[in-house]
Amino acid sequence: MKNPILTLCGLGRRDEYFKGRATNRRSKKSILVSAVILGAGLLASAPLHAQTLRVGMTTSDVPTTGGIPDNGSEGGRFAGYPIFDALVNWDFTKTDQISDLTPGLATEWHIDPNDHKRWIFTLREGVRFHDGTAFKADDVIWNFDRHLNEAAPHFDKAQARSYRTYTSMVEKYEKIDDTHVALYTRVPFSMLPYLISRVFMVSPTQYAKIGNWQDFQKAPAGTGPFKVEKVTPRTSIELVRNDDYWDKTRVPKLKRLVLMPIPDANTRLAALRSGQVDWVEYPAPDSIPGLKASGFQIVTKPYPHVWAWHANNSDASPISDRRVRLALNYGLDRKSLVEMLGGTAIPARGPWPDSYKYFGRPSENYTYNPDKARALLKEAGYGPGGKTLKLKVQVPTAGSGNMVPLPMAEFVQQSYKELGIETEYTVVDWGTMLNTMRQRPDRPGAPHLDVVNHGLPISDPTQFFLNFHGSSAPPNGSNWSLYKNPKVDALLDKAFESFEPKERDELIAQAHALVVDDAPWVFVVHDLNPRALSPKVKGFKQAQSWYQDFTQVTVDE
């Protein structure tokens, strides 16, 4: 163990928790001061073990830990997959392509060949919850009851609603035998596994012991690679390694994982730089050059995200004219925007990045072409000699996936000003904007809006469906644009009824290509999901996903 005297002199190895605090110890004075601070700290503090990874999240509070994490995808990333498993998990191993599904608590699943609404899941055996009880078929039923069965005593009235997007397609569910369950969809739906990948399995025994979902969050029991040790609201979630994790390749190398909500980008940055955390999510683009210069690792990977202008395609708006939307897509200098973002994004040409298997072969290629944009605008009757195009745009102040919305919005505004387009922004908080998007833009009494500026995940085809299918207009889905192309709708419907993967993927790619050409949105950039890691964090391989794997990470002493 460490020699306390050496430590006091600032010479010995210091306790992990204090590492990085006194990096600049050139002057004798500061050695003395830090020695005093250290001494006092050592005397008073509980020893924190090595192999602790402390993460600064962007959320404003700790995500809920009861198996229905809030705070969007970031909640799933930190309070979802590390603690729990779903029947179907995400595969983090193939980091060279966009992540796809992998077996979780179900080892295998398939559609009933005789009933295209009936899915059969084979359950993994020998899995134990954190409370020591075994995972069984009954538990799956119990967990779906939590979400869907309002008559069940443990129905989670408060939280189930927020997961309707993932569960509403499930009509009923039944236990076949101890290792098999069946899920029934309302209509034939080949994408079900994507949806239920967010339905996490928690221990009924632990719930029975605690008695209500509110308190369950303080001591939840899942089956995931980490166990919850302590939840301090608005401060931290402390996780410890689950040595008995069923996937032996993914038993965490870390001993502890501490998650702290630090919504303010600058505070997050200061916390990383002062050694209070080892890892921050979404470092502000302007801070990246400085971080790199100071030896921090910046990791980026594309993932299915798009930061876009959702255009109001209804008749009320000038932007319902396709030529205008094409002009907007051609008239945007995305390269400069990417430069402003410090390379944390790539230019977008459609809802999905062109490296994705679903990209397809669209005919429009949105490169920066202001002349073409001007010509298109002229054709539509705007520009010199014609009308001035004026757009009312709603922009959020922040929010998961929105990157740095305000400077980016200002950039777009400037870019369009050069085309003679006037944009007027209404800045709102994210929640308000989500509210806006849950209502049709053309409903009576709605304030006029041409565009909503939103960065969002389109992680899988179901989300594509919710954004671009004609039936997905609010309140059914997220198609605020009221985009409707019968061809796209037909392709998607067909794809979702198809249980042949190859055919399905091709249909989706065709639909995607059509959407690109119709340009219901202005596709701006795909985020590269940047995170900044202290130099001592090793072994992290960023997946091309909204979710990430913390089990392979180590932290150097």
Binding site: N24, V33, S45, E238, I262, Q276, D429, N435, R438, P475
Partner: protein, 314 residues
């Protein structure tokens, strides 16, 4: 004295009621139906009606206020819309964190202010005076959220001496592990009270030193130390009053500093509640902070009266 105390406490009751009315009305000055803040817009008509009934929003405003007040008096502030946790539980932990920060900052400001103000007053017109006054003006003029950032860069990032954020791991304890988290935010927050107390104490000391009785005291041959005791006792009621009020202001005004330092107190809670339109939290936090302020005002008045024999007869 007793009569005065009683009267003063009685007078605080209508104030407290009116304050809670203002907090209650906060929801209703917000544009739109408060139900919009509670439910997603796609909620069905029955759900809306149900929730409206649940929250008592179908009743006339005065009745709603009465119901709300009845709950609040029993410590029931409802549940947060954002995270479903009990607002009362959240408030207890957040308010205690803010209280720790605010009292530390106020005490720090008080000590600095008394020393600087006392010196400035005693050495009026000298370099010490000018330095102290400059500090005081600087203190009340500096945007403290900006100062916080600068302090973080110097002491956390460059020197690496102190943490830049949060209140330390787990629950609060008065050990170095946690106290080190307190230092920077407390210093940042103390700048304003330090400035104000410096100004006030300087003014009071100058005033006291110009009083005839100071000449009397010198005429009795008292030494400097004894003179200081007299000055202090005379200055105490005013200084304490300023300090008490400042504590109240800091409790309610720490929102910016808490945001910069991610200090998990009421300020951060309020900030989140505002942006999540979490009305129960907004109402509850505002009410509790305002009530603390009312109580502090009352306490300051009473202490001031107790300390100043001239006021006791009222």
């Amino acid at each position: 004295m007793l009569l005065y105390t009683l009267r003063r406490i009685l007078y605080a009751v209508p104030i407290a009621l009116a304050v809670s009315l203002v907090c209650f009305m906060l929801v209703h000055i917000a544009p739109g139906d408060p139900i919009d803040a509670i439910l997603p817009p796609d909620a069905s008509a029955e759900t809306v009606a149900l929730v409206r009934k649940d929250y008592g929003l179908d009743k006339p405003l005065p009745v709603q206020f009465g119901l709300w007040l009845a709950h609040v008096v029993q410590g029931d502030f409802g549940r947060s819309i954002a995270n479903r946790r009990l607002v009362a539980d959240e408030l207890v932990s957040a308010a205690s964190k803010t209280f720790i920060l605010a009292t530390t900052a106020a005490s720090l400001g008080f000590v600095i202010g008394c020393i600087l103000g006392g010196l400035a007053g005693a050495f009026r017109g000298t370099l010490i005076d000018r330095a102290a006054v400059s500090f005081a003006v600087g203190g009340v003029s500096v945007p403290h959220y900006w100062l916080g950032m600068v302090l973080v860069i110097i002491f956390s990032v460059t020197l690496g001496w102190l943490p830049s954020m949060s209140a330390g791991p787990g629950d609060w304890a008065w050990d170095w592990l946690h106290i080190r988290h307190l230092i920077l935010p407390a210093i940042t927050l103390s700048v304003i009270p330090a400035g104000l107390v410096t100004r006030t104490v300087r003014g009071v000391v100058v005033e006291i030193l110009s009083q005839d009785f100071m000449t009397t005291l010198r005429g009795k041959g008292l030494r400097r130390l004894m003179l200081t005791v007299h000055v202090m006792k005379n200055a105490a009621p005013t200084a304490l009053a300023v300090m008490g009020l400042q504590l109240g202001y800091l409790m309610g005004g720490s929102i910016l500093v808490e945001t910069v330092f991610a200090w998990p107190g009421t300020g951060m809670m309020l900030n989140q509640a505002i942006f999540q339109r979490d009305i129960p939290v907004l109402q509850g936090t505002t009410l509790v902070l305002a009530m603390i302020f009312v109580a502090l005002n009352l306490l300051v008045d009473l202490i001031q009266t107790a300390l100043d024999p001239r006021m006791r007869r009222t």
